[in-house]
């Protein structure tokens, strides 16, 4: 294989893996801290993308902002949505068993799909890459790579870094990490559990929505985008181990590489490669690579 093409594919794999990490980390946090399996997590990714599409003209018109402003607006709105949803719906799921959570969030997916259909529509849309991120850039003089894809990777890395900083250096992060390994303990420590859960959930939703919004110019905006990403994220969480952010990161990168290079070497079996990876890992490590608590 041509070394330049190899490098390009590596960069693609990293970018895809980083996007997956954003979505999967929210999923694993929500499950690790609150014990909720949320089938609707993929919908938040979809909502982020549609938000980017719908908000772009509005942000331009009323706030005079460009692409970054749109992204910020998506994140803020998604956080608010997450905060509200936890209060209105998800807080009722804690006491229920996994089966009920699965089915109730399944119902929620249907509701989200229809609401999106009502508020926006059912069509496929494109979101334009902003002018200052268009084109390609020369890397080391040997190859060119789309600027926007580098931008995606950069933003994801920044967010990952921010997450790492918050989790390891801040009080909030300490509470989250404590909660991930022992949920009962943190309430007995006098921490307002309800507030913590609401914040964690809002973060999870915002992460997924940001991923959807930032991926929109590349993957376009279409109704089924949530479902595909959700199941891949489940694979990431299974491989990485529930509740482990580090595991989610490594697993996401692994999945990114397997999927990207799988498509290059076995285009006919492309969609299947990731699941074969999961099957292989299950053979040796049924509890994931980094099981938490």
């Amino acid at each position: 294989m041509d070394p330049v093409i190899f490098l390009i594919q590596c960069l693609n794999a990293v970018q895809y893996g980083l996007l997956l990490f954003l979505v999967a980390s929210g999923l694993t946090l929500i499950f690790g801290i609150m014990g909720i399996i949320n089938l609707a997590h993929g919908s938040f990714y979809m909502i982020g993308a549609y938000m980017a599409f719908a908000l772009q003209p509005l942000v331009a018109q009323y706030l005079g902002g460009g692409f970054v402003a749109t992204l910020l607006a998506c994140v803020v709105l998604a956080s608010l949505l997450g905060y509200f949803l936890e209060w209105a719906f998800y807080s009722y799921l804690y006491r229920r068993d996994h089966l009920q959570q699965v089915l109730m969030t399944y119902g929620l997916i249907l509701v989200f799909e229809e609401l999106r259909s009502i508020i926006i529509d059912n069509d496929v849309h494109g979101v334009g890459v902003p002018a200052w991120l268009q084109g390609t850039v020369s890397l080391g003089g040997i190859m060119t790579y789309p600027v926007y894809r580098l931008f995606i990777s950069l933003v994801c890395l920044l967010v990952a870094g921010l997450m790492y900083w918050v989790l390891t250096r801040s009080r909030l992060g300490m509470m989250i990490r404590a909660g991930a390994s022992n949920r009962e303990m943190i309430s007995s420590l006098g921490i307002d559990i309800n507030r913590l859960f609401r914040i964690v959930f809002a973060i999870g939703v915002a992460l997924a929505a940001l991923a959807g919004a930032i991926a929109a110019p590349v993957s376009s905006v279409y109704p089924g985008m949530g479902h595909a990403v959700l199941i891949i994220c489940f694979v990431v969480v299974v491989i990485g181990g529930i509740g482990s952010i580090r595991g989610a990161f490594l697993a996401a990168m692994l999945v990114g590489f397997v999927d990207t290079f799988g498509q290059v070497f076995f285009p006919a079996a492309a969609g299947v490669m990731v699941y074969l990876l999961m099957a292989a890992i299950l053979l040796f490590k049924p509890e994931g690579l980094f099981k938490q608590g």
Binding site: V102, M104, G107, V235, I242, A269, G271, Y275, P286
Partner: protein, 333 residues
């Protein structure tokens, strides 16, 4: 006395069901067939969820694999032979269940839910992305399979009534098989595993074998339902293996009630009728267009209110009446 009453009721129901097509229109007969196919599908999942305590979110894979098997291997020029197409479809589903089950059952709880979903998605992609099954367009089954022994046609299912009765027979056979299975030593062990697997292992039961056997049997029964589905409309596409199919059949089992076998049947009937109702213009007016919304909300409410499903309602009422009897009224204190 109670069991003879139940037997009589059951017999009456079966007779009514057998006679339904005489009184109903073609549309309702077709709907009834669809309900019965989904009832068989739900029963197969009931074995896993209610019998073994295994929550699978990927059961549609077996349904779809069998449907594709019969469609792909039926000749285009005439009716295929059910003698080998039906067992073949069931065995194909069981084979996939054996391989994926052996891997999935290494996980527990929430991992198991996610892994079964992933394996179903894998099968989905095989049919969706490859030329194998005509891709996203799906493929057609031009002639309904018939039962042939050499030159003799023993069973021809072209007539709607014949197919209806055949489906009813399959449903009853499947239900009977599962009922007998749960009463057998295998079923007793499975129940013990569901209640406390650790205890069963400590006693000497190789629980993995039991769970895998249940998984494979459930896959096979789902395959039988898939065969019927393909034979009914003559059209299959990858969406049969999609996760919302898996979610839908799981919903049927839970809403019907996982503690009883017939809960799956009740759940299939209830959910199919619910879907039809929400989509009906006559009943819902213009909201019928937005039936995903109403249906989704209904699911949320029903799952929240009926944790034991419809089959668990009598138990729920009994518990509430007992609690009310025990609790002294505030005024008497």
């Amino acid at each position: 006395m109670q069991s003879t009453l139940r037997a009589v009721l059951l017999l009456a129901l079966v007779c009514l069901a057998a006679l339904l097509p005489m009184a109903a229109s073609d549309y309702y007969t077709g709907l009834a067939v669809k309900v019965m196919i989904y009832a068989l599908f739900a029963l197969s999942l009931q074995l896993l969820v209610g019998g073994a305590g295994l929550v699978s979110l990927g059961h549609a894979a077996f349904f779809g694999i069998a449907a594709y098997f019969v469609t792909l291997l039926s000749p285009e020029s005439g009716a295929g032979n059910m003698l080998w197409l039906l067992p073949g479809a069931v065995l194909a589903a069981m084979a996939y269940a054996a391989v994926t089950g052996a891997l999935s059952l290494r996980t527990k709880g929430i991992y198991f839910i996610m892994v079964t979903l992933a394996f179903a998605q894998m099968a989905y992609y095989v049919f969706h992305d490859t030329k194998l099954g005509g891709g996203t367009d799906g493929i057609y089954l031009y002639f309904r399979p018939e039962l042939r022994l050499g030159e003799w046609v023993l069973l021809n299912l072209d007539a709607p009534y014949a197919f209806y009765l055949f489906t009813l027979a399959c449903l009853l056979l499947g239900w009977g098989f599962l009922a007998a299975l749960m009463r057998s030593r295998f079923g007793a062990a499975l129940t013990g595993i569901r209640v406390n697997e650790q205890r069963m292992r400590a006693a000497g039961y190789s629980t993995f074998g039991y769970k895998l056997m249940a998984y494979v049997l459930a896959g096979g029964l789902a395959g039988a339902a898939g065969f019927l589905y393909a034979a009914k409309d003559g059209y299959v596409n990858p969406e049969l293996l999609a996760w919302d199919q898996s979610g839908l059949v799981l919903l049927m089992v839970i809403l019907g009630g996982s503690s009883r076998l017939w809960g799956a049947i009740v759940g299939a009937v209830a959910l199919t009728l619910l879907q039809e109702a929400f989509q009906s213009q006559d009943l819902m007016g213009d909201i019928a267009q937005r039936w995903h919304l109403t249906f989704g909300l209904a699911i949320i409410v029903l799952v929240a209110l009926l944790p034991n499903g419809l089959a668990g309602l009598p138990g729920q009422w009994r518990q509430r009446r007992q609690a009310a009897r025990i609790k002294p009224s505030a005024s008497s204190l």
